[in-house]
Chain length 204, copies 2
Amino acid sequence: MSFSEYPSKLLESAVNEFASLPGIGRKTAFRLVMSLLKRDPAEVEKFGETIIKLHREIHYCRNCHNISDSEICLICSDEKRDKSLICVVESIQDVMAVENTRQYKGIYHVLGGIISPVDGVGPADLKIDSLEEKVKRGGIKEIILALSTTMEGDTTNFYLYKRLNKYNLVLSTLARGVAIGDELEYTDEITLGRAINNRNPYQQ
Amino acid sequence: MSFSEYPSKLLESAVNEFASLPGIGRKTAFRLVMSLLKRDPAEVEKFGETIIKLHREIHYCRNCHNISDSEICLICSDEKRDKSLICVVESIQDVMAVENTRQYKGIYHVLGGIISPVDGVGPADLKIDSLEEKVKRGGIKEIILALSTTMEGDTTNFYLYKRLNKYNLVLSTLARGVAIGDELEYTDEITLGRAINNRNPYQQ
């Protein structure tokens, strides 16, 4: 008989869908589908409906490009936030990382990526024009470039500096240094070198 | 502001759905949802629809309880299969494992589990009655008990043997021995002991 590995076409297409996700192999995908089949049908339908709604109902904030349930996100529409301070980040994950510190009271600008010639990502692929527009409209005092400390991050920082430096505002980057909890023995020499050069007065 | 970790309720519920799958943590779930948001919306809708169809459209074969697109599965409805030979397995995965060997020409019976008092699974939770019914209807020459070589597998084998032994048929189990490709040094002593006792004449 012609038995193409799976006993059901529907099962096979469900496995294919899960296996198309990053980091999910065919064995894991099969296990996930089998677990759905063991669940309550209503629960599984809700799962499917949530996925269908994803693209249909999700918004990206018109101001900062963060994910949102409305046209303007909760952060941008919060009156307590300092609108003159913009933290430029690569992704929505990075907004969440900074938010979790509970240290930041400004707003964000999500670039949607980072300049990376190797991956074919140039400035035009990122939300840089809308950042410059925002600066041109005025009212911005400082822009914090909170990008990864990689070559791509440095390139993007440099590009943004070149484009935004002509406006009357402060451009800053995150402090570089030894991460809290790190042992010096295992800290790379570039980080350690910078941390020595940028040393701070001892505070009790 | 009240910022409950996720910038969007919809995003959060999608992450919750993925995190409810076995072996998927919240970080991975978030990564999966973000990857869906970067994909073509039509593709993602198809994903959601496939999940919704899962319970609605999938069948379990009336004869062997294997997953199927129709009332009777492709294996049971195949005329070339020997209907007098039944291979009893724990799960659909095991049907696929035996099918992949391309060595078996009989049909299957999927128990849907294994007797495991620790997990609260007794004989009544498994498809054992329908197996006995099948045997009573006649025409079965042999039943191969292809269960795991664990304590639960042995218990289930013993239970099935007790229930089916009164009928006029052959009851067999899979051959036990050293797996092909295994080094003797690392083979457990029970397997090795059985393999010595059940040794076969050398064949060139």
